[in-house]
Amino acid sequence: MARRRKKLSSRTLWLMVHLGGPVFPLVIKSLIRYISYPRLRFDILDASDLALISVFIWLFVRQSLIDKEITLVNDDKKEELRTCVNGCFGGAIVFFAFYLLMEVFTTLVEGLHQTNNQPSLDITKWLVFVSFVVSMLVIFRIQQSFKLKARI
């Protein structure tokens, strides 16, 4: 019988699909912003977009955990997986809340000229940035903990 090789799952592919993919549009947007105004600064990353993208990332990771095939019987592992699935949903909710806050504050400050909300907007932006970095670290660890892999 001829040897047919199946393409196996890959950790790198998982990271690309679940993190790289969603972040890609934001990278493009930031790049365009940078080209139009070549100064390196945090504002080239749109915090509002970042929050929304984080929502998707958490949902994608959640779905990946749900799809995770457990080869060997062990109910403890299934329970652990379920807890993590709920945690991911929680992460998505938190970032959705950030997204709503960003939109509200941006509308108040830029649309309605209520500049007294500027500090709140700035704080929310920073919260989004910091939470995004923490999220990335947690998601990396989730991948390592459950050996999540993507298949083509």
Partner: protein
Amino acid sequence: MRKSNNVYLGEANGKAKTTGLIWILIVAIINLSGLSFANSSSEVRSSAAFTINTTNISTPISASTTTAFTPTITRKPSTTPTAIITDTSKITFTQAQTPTSIRTSTITSCLAKSVDVVLVIDRSGSMQGQPMEEAQRAARNFIELTQLQSDQVGLVSFSDSARLDQQLMQSESVIKQGIDNLQALGETNIASGIAQAQMELTSSRHNPLATRVMILLSDGRPTAGNTLATAQVTKQAGIRIITIGLGSQIDEDLMRSIASVESDYYPVPDASDLVTVYQAIARTLNCVTPIRTPIFTSTTASDTPVVHGQSVTTTEDTEDTPKAIIPSPTNVPVPPSTFSSWTATILGILVGVIVTFLLTPIYQRFIGSALPIAYNIAVLGFRGAGKTTIITSLFGEIFARKVTGVGFEATLTGKNTIERLNKNLERLQRGFSLGPTTDQDMFAFRTNIRQKRFLFQRTYKVEIGDFDGKDSEKYTEETIDWLHDQPLFKWAVDADGLIFIIDMGKYLNPKGRKDYIARMTSAIRAAWQNFVDSIEGGEKAARRLPVVLAFHKMDLIERIGKSKSSSKIQTLIASLGYGKEVPEVIVLDIDVINRFESVIEADFSELIQFLRAESKTFTIVYTSCFGIVNDNRLGLFELLKSVLPK
């Protein structure tokens, strides 16, 4: 009883560094964007001392009308005419009546800092005619004086409402065009002008490394909007507001309150003086301390306030006779850091390293413990080789706390693992074998292993897979596609460590010894080749995995003793169980075991050479679940240690 062949270089070492690098990267980005050391707010550092060398002192300028500020020199130089101003809150604004000469003063230090300036110009109806023309002329002149290589200028105008005429930019011609297009008409809504300028200064166009300044020019009283509240918010946002009150209709108190500090208010009764005032402001914007003097004096009529700035009194002077007039040094934003960008970056990296060292244990404590890194170990061996027994005994050792204090700590986790292990251990203690594992019994035994290194610790979630032995036998099959569907194969190609079990019971039987050696050599080689063929990363990744060749049931060597009769040995092995019953636990003579090691290794030399060439971390371990050496079951701890991440 373990022979380590190579130094294992596991992946574990790199992970703490990765976390560190992420932090360093974050801190470096923060530094580059000026958010860590460069506070862009218009902070006034009143304690910042600067030195003024005065020269060419001639006839003092009389100051008959002192209006806004009173200069106070708190530290007077002793011999040289040098003034060090430390308290800038009382510097005098002077109206020179009959200037007779100019005194030249030189500021010795001036740290340039880029500035984002928005000119906020009143274009209400009252500005029609000469005021607007002068304002335009002054604004154009102001732009020429700014350093547009590093600075940015924007233009906002207001009447009934505000509009952004030019966003922050570095194009002189474009901004001038915006200035030329201003037309006076309508009411005076100063608040809207301030709000519009603030938006521009907080927009993405703002350079975070630059100081934010708005220069507000108005000639009337506001007719709409809450001017003071808006200005307050703007100032709280770290934007410096400089106000210029043109003409006599101006609400001076309001303009003074709008300004960041009192000295940032410039009353200009005559529009023709606007150019001079804008020039004075332009010269101070980029400096921590004012730039070179003289700035300007006036030659206009005595009752015209033409000079704006501070008079500075030196040691030889009295406070009544200000001698020199320099532009307002007070309230000029002081760069928050006097470090160069390189120093700041290096410091940032150092801070990043320190933060990494501080935060990594916290990260590992919370996230690391909650989400341990998965580490799977596949145990491969034929039916009856004792895979389940060895796994159970291994966990029994962990139960008995015999694998602590040696670089890692192992703790059992999971209700299912604990229940199953206790059941198995009870069965072994009662003398019954565990029997062959079936498809229904396949199970992942789990334990948490915590490794500590200096301040850091890493928790692994170790899973040891227990499979039906016939699955292992299928590795020798040629039909690899079929093998891919096996749970064992799927699990094993994802494993982080491999244990191959060789059954000493079969090896010691003289009748089938040769066949067994050949079969095991072939089977394990095929298993490894299949593994390398399928593992992600191929041969390179496979070479890094810890591989252990475990010669199991070593207690049989001692039990058989010196018996050479083939039939006798067969009978003995059969009677010793590994079928329905297990033998009693005995204390092993380590010398007997050692003597046999060389014989075993010679018999399996082909396999050993192959694995040694294939894997960087190949180890041979001699084990027994029913033979004790030094109060521990033979080789179990070494087996665990060999296969775990280093």
